[in-house]
């Protein structure tokens, strides 16, 4: 029941803001912040329990598929922390956006809540059709937010964003239908255990299996994004309003990686292992390429977009090492990147608002004029470059260690090279923004307000706490789980059994458990 309420909460908040109140401007922003904090508080307990799920309810039938689509929500180690990202970045984004959207705050908050709700939905769904509905629905609020509140080229950017992601997920839709037809139902737990059997015994023609595999992969590779499907990212991140891009890069993009872990690997264990090296390679290429291109950017939001490309590349490489350290490192790095990139987009949004420019050369001397802003920026940048003591370091260290062990020293070296390059572009940005004499004449108060500071501080606190104590993220992941999803899931403290746990039982050991629900 808790999960249903959690999923409904953002939509209820959006409805309440849209119709239930006539307040405008500042007071609606306070109401929105209050509601978003309620949602975040409701989401927090998920990380305390190992996994839980609601009762499955038959929903509707798709012609040609034996079992009905089921409405069931579940949360486990994999999704709990990503849900936190969406839950906690929303209040930060709403509060930090007050200065930017001003009197249109209510409209902005409504769509932000809808975006949050769809992200929750994708992460909570245990049925692939249900997942797909939310996965596609994310496009609507994103499109409205970018085209309604974005920069000068917002129309074009939002259009490209929607076209790219929609084109990416169209093959997923077809593949889904086929998968559900082959696997007699779209519920993930049953489907993945049947797919595991089917592919293990080679019951699927290899070309068909490969086509299905690629169709699913493309959807998530666009979302993540992976090279070379990243073309939408730079323009979208540059033109989207700071509050939205914080959610897009901090939470939504992670659903791409989530898709690999949740769907691609369990549904296609054979292909995933067979082509793991290619994914590691693609990830590492993204690391190097993203960092190199970021080094050449003069627009700081585009710089951050390429930085995200690199970080998520490292995450994907970590996932496809199939080593426990790699998966755990990927999880922490995702959380760390969500917090640091989300925070950086918000902080850079402040600077963009002051100067009405995103061009690094228009800035300078902010350390003199805006000392509090400078401290926030430097803290977040240090977290982004993975300084030890921040969560990013733990993630990068574990992934590099896994790369060394699974793919050889060369892979670890490439990943490490990206870490050096990330410091190069990040410090270049810091110097352009903060060092030197103030570039343009300043008008009025140009440092951040107390409220704007409090939007960012929790993110920095989270990065530092998880940097010294990442166990809350790592302990939820049972390492056996990801060795091809065949190992036995360790008993968890949570009283309610999670579907994701059941699917991991070896069918040969406990066949009743895998199918007998």
């Amino acid at each position: 029941m808790h999960l249903v309420l959690l999923l409904a909460a953002p939509f209820a908040a959006a409805l309440f803001l849209a119709f239930g109140s006539s307040k405008e401007g500042q007071s609606s922003s306070r109401l929105a912040l209050f509601l978003s904090l309620l949602v975040a508080a409701a989401a927090f307990p998920l990380v305390l329990c190992g996994g839980c799920a609601t009762e499955a309810v038959d929903w509707f039938r798709i012609p040609g598929i034996a079992a009905p689509v089921r409405f069931q929500l579940g949360s486990d180690a994999l999704s709990a922390w990503l849900i936190q990202l969406a839950a906690w970045l929303t209040p930060a984004a709403l509060w930090a956006s007050r200065g930017l959207v001003r009197e249109r705050m209510r409209e902005f908050a409504v769509w932000t809540f809808v975006l949050q709700g769809t992200i929750f939905g994708s992460l909570l769904a245990t049925d692939m059709v249900l997942f797909f509905l939310f996965f596609e629905a994310m496009l609507v609020p994103s499109f409205v937010l970018i085209s309604g509140f974005g920069g000068r080229r917002r129309k074009q950017a939002s259009l490209m964003f929607v076209i790219f992601t929609a084109l990416g997920s169209a093959p997923l839709m077809i593949a889904l239908y086929f998968l559900a037809a082959i696997g007699h139902g779209s519920d993930l737990a049953g489907l993945s255990s049947r797919m595991g059997l089917i592919s293990n015994f080679g019951m699927l023609p290899p070309t068909l299996a490969l086509t299905l595999f690629l169709a699913v992969v493309v959807a998530f590779a666009v979302k993540t994004p992976l090279l070379p499907l990243h073309s939408w990212q730079a323009d979208t991140y540059a033109e989207a309003p700071a509050g939205t891009v914080a959610l897009l890069s901090g939470a939504m993009a992670k659903i791409g990686v989530y898709g690999f872990l949740r769907f691609v690997i369990p549904l296609f264990p054979v292909e995933s292992h067979k082509y793991a090296g290619w994914f590691v390679l693609a990830g590492l290429l993204a690391v190097i390429y993203g960092a190199l291109v970021a080094l050449a950017q003069s627009d700081f939001k585009r710089l951050m977009a390429f930085s995200s490309l690199g970080h998520l590349g490292l995450v994907v490489a970590g996932v496809f090492t199939f080593a426990p350290e790699g998966i755990k490192g990927a999880m922490i790095l995702m959380v760390a990147h969500g917090l640091s990139a989300g925070g950086l987009f918000l902080v850079l949004g402040y600077a963009e608002r002051w100067k009405r420019s995103r061009h690094l050369d228009d800035f300078g001397g902010l350390a003199t004029t805006s000392p509090v802003f400078s401290v926030l920026l430097v803290c977040l940048v240090l977290a982004a470059v993975g300084l030890p003591g921040t969560a990013g370091f733990v993630g990068e260290f574990l992934i590099l260690k896994a790369l060394w062990a699974s793919n050889g020293p060369g892979a670890a070296f490439l990943g490490g090279l990206g870490v050096i390059l990330s410091a190069a572009y990040a410090l270049r940005m810091v110097q352009k923004l903060l060092f030197g004499k103030p570039a343009l004449p300043q008008e009025g108060n140009t440092d951040v307000t107390t409220g704007e500071v409090f939007a960012i501080l929790p993110l920095i606190a989270g990065l530092v706490v998880l940097g010294f104590w990442p166990t809350p993220v790592t302990r939820l992941i049972d390492t056996e789980l990801y060795k091809g999803w065949t190992g036995k899931f360790a008993a968890s403290a949570c009283p309610i059994k999670c579907p994701a746990q059941k699917q991991c039982h070896k069918p040969t050991q406990e066949p009743a458990d895998a199918t007998g629900r």
Binding site: L167, L292, G329, L382, P409, G436, T474
Partner: protein
């Protein structure tokens, strides 16, 4: 008091608290006219450092030989079979490092109260200085390599913040960035080195120093490391970790950042870039000595790099006109001697030079700071001269530092440097010859510095006229360090029996590794006097030559900037040229990635896509629907059909 060793965490926590309080003070006062209260900031900062020193002293006094205090509050990283504790370990090596780090840091905090008194960012400065101290303490107190790495990158960060402390000047930002990035290159070596170590240790992989040491002292394991993959991995691991050391300790090839780091305030140069942070490479070698002694190849590389750096930097020191740059190259050169000592297996000798060098180089830097403070920021020695009379105390302290670094009898360097040279002779006479040559050049550039600064006539009357001696907060640390430069060598006065408390202290930690490497022959004490005499002679030759060249009223014209010119510039920037070989291709690749791949290839892809969508949109415009929906619908339907066709075909 029995619970004292449970307070290890307080050692870094105290300065960390100081950093946070001073940081908050700095931000709170940033909007006001005068800025935060300076006496308060200075007092808190110095108190934080001083109390760490007292605690370290109390702990060191209670430490029995061979004993280790440990504390591991929680498990930091837990990734299944691989665990890293958030642990501290306090043995005699750590005790020795901590005592001089916190001691000298406290003196330099005190000195900074006077030196930075006019600066707007006073509280911010103390915040950074405290943060640095906290990181440095974690570096030497960590019980595993990853804890050390927290401090390792932490001191790098503070170095970055302090080099770029005066942020209105972009040149300082460039220097700070360079320091951070060059160090990061080394840090990658450190990390990859830990991976190599862990793959060597296989299922027993751990980053705890105690486990690593025990594993690599086990005869069963040593036999595996002699040949094949084991030997290769061992060489790779040790060389990679040594690469990390060359970054932090400014050795060839990663040394270019240290001279540029002189852009920071002078107390920073004294504390971070001379006495403490740059010696962490030597500390790490000593900490992992049991691993390094097993790889003769790596040990030779360390010796070679050490002597090459010592000679190259000493010669580069001759070409500098900026007083701080001379001292910077001198530091690089002295660090080279420390690595020579480590490379020939005398880790305690290397650490002893770390220890004595911390005193005399800090005295020299603080003295230079006092000179710069007195003549209002001038750093070009060609515009100084005749300052001995104006600044008698500063002159006396710098003379003590000069006496010590030259290795003249009974000074600190006399004991530590001569010992290294003596050990070098046992290793190879050629190494000794190069070391001696370095000593001559050292005497040359140091005497040149003293002569140009303090003797002769004043070359800038205006500046000299207003020169004033330092205030008390600056004078006191100067005196203590000057005294230290003359006396700390007696902690290990090799020629005097029984005067080796320094060696005895480190024996439990370093002894086994050094004995494993010892050549079996007994030390020949008989010739110690001869070595001392030759070393002193070398110093005197260099000093008198310098006096001949630059003494009296030799013509020294200050033209243009203080940077060296001609051959001197090429020599000085030799490794900057080499770095350019890495930086330029990176920039080129970055340009190609952005302008060609991203803009042309992927940009073209987007344009093509856009064009197709427009085209489809035009075609079905007759339907009079909102354009976007049509665009999307048509392209989606097309794709769906396409995929369905393929799938059905395959089925």
């Amino acid at each position: 008091m029995n619970q004292l060793h449970n307070l290890l965490w307080l050692l870094p926590a105290l300065p960390l608290l100081g950093a946070i309080v001073n940081g908050a003070l700095s931000l709170a006062g940033s909007g006001t006219e005068k800025g935060p209260s300076r006496p308060l900031s200075g007092f808190l900062g110095t108190l934080a450092s001083g109390s760490s020193f007292v605690l370290a002293l109390l702990l060191a006094l209670r430490l029995h030989p061979g004993e280790v205090f440990t504390q591991a509050p929680w498990t930091w990283i837990d990734a299944g079979s691989f665990k890293v504790s958030f642990g501290f370990a306090f043995d005699s090596l750590t005790a020795m490092m901590l005592l001089f780090i916190t001691g000298i840091a406290t003196l330099i905090h005190l000195y900074s109260i006077g030196y930075m008194s006019e600066d707007r960012g006073f509280a911010r400065f103390f915040s950074y200085l405290n943060l640095f101290l906290a990181s440095m303490i974690v570096l030497v107190l960590g019980s595993n390599m990853l804890m050390t790495f927290i401090g390792w990158e932490g001191v790098g960060l503070c170095s970055y913040l302090l080099i770029g402390f005066w942020h209105h000047d972009h040149a300082n930002g460039d220097a700070a960035r360079k320091a951070f990035l060059v160090n990061r290159a080394g840090d990658l070596g450190f990390l990859l080195g830990t991976f190599a170590l862990m793959s060597l240790m296989g299922s027993q992989a751990s980053l705890e120093y105690s486990v690593i040491t025990a594993w690599f002292r086990d005869a069963a394991h040593i036999s595996l490391l002699g040949t094949g993959t084991g030997a290769g991995l061992l060489t790779a691991a040790t060389l990679l970790i040594f690469l990390g050391c060359t970054g932090k300790s400014a050795q060839i090839p990663l040394l270019t950042w240290l001279p540029d780091a002189m852009a920071g305030p002078t107390p920073v140069s004294a504390l971070i870039h001379a006495a403490t942070m740059v010696t962490s490479g030597v500390y790490l070698l000593a900490r992992l000595s049991s691993v390094f002694v097993l790889s003769p190849l790596t040990m030779s590389v360390i010796t070679g790099i050490g002597i090459a750096t010592a000679l190259w930097a000493a010669i580069a020191g001759l070409f500098q006109n900026d007083i701080k740059k001379v001292l910077a190259y001198s530091t690089v050169s002295q660090l080279g001697y420390m690595f020579v000592a480590a490379g020939i297996g005398s880790f305690d000798g290397a650490l002893f030079h770390v220890f004595t060098h911390a005193f005399f180089k800090a005295a020299l830097f603080l003295g230079a700071g006092s000179v710069i403070h007195a003549i209002h920021g001038e750093q070009d020695m060609r515009r100084m001269g005749g300052l001995a009379k104006k600044l008698p105390l500063t002159f006396a302290v710098m003379a003590a530092g000069w006496y010590a670094i030259l290795g003249l009898p009974l000074g600190a360097g006399f004991w530590s440097k001569d010992m290294i040279l003596e050990k070098a002779f046992e290793h190879s006479p050629l190494l000794y010859a190069f070391g001696l040559l370095g000593a001559v050049v050292t005497a040359l550039y140091m005497t040149r510095l003293m002569v140009l600064t303090f003797f002769g006539r004043s070359r800038d009357e205006h500046a000299a006229a207003h020169a004033h001696e330092a205030p008390l907060t600056m004078a006191l640390p100067l005196l203590v360090l000057g005294l230290g430069a003359l006396t700390v060598g007696f902690f290990w006065a090799g020629m005097i029996p029984g005067m080796d408390s320094f060696r005895q202290m480190l024996e439990p930690v370093l002894g086994p590794a050094q004995q494993a490497l010892a050549h079996g022959g007994e030390e020949h004490h008989g010739s110690a006097m001869l070595f001392a005499a030759v070393g002193t002679l070398a110093a005197l030759v260099g000093a008198s030559a310098a006096w001949k060249i630059w003494g009296g009223n030799a013509k020294v014209e200050a033209v243009g900037s203080s940077a060296p010119k001609g051959f001197g510039a090429h020599w000085t920037y030799l490794f900057d040229y080499l770095h350019a070989l890495v930086i330029l291709p990176t920039k080129a690749l970055s340009w190609i990635g952005d302008k060609i791949v991203q803009t042309v290839v992927f940009g073209g892809l987007i344009a093509l896509l856009q064009f197709l969508v427009e085209l489809l949109g035009e075609a079905v415009r007759a339907l009079q629907r909102p354009r976007l929906r049509v665009n999307l619908g048509v392209s989606l339907a097309g794709l769906v059909l396409l995929i369905a066709y393929f799938l059905l075909g395959a089925w």
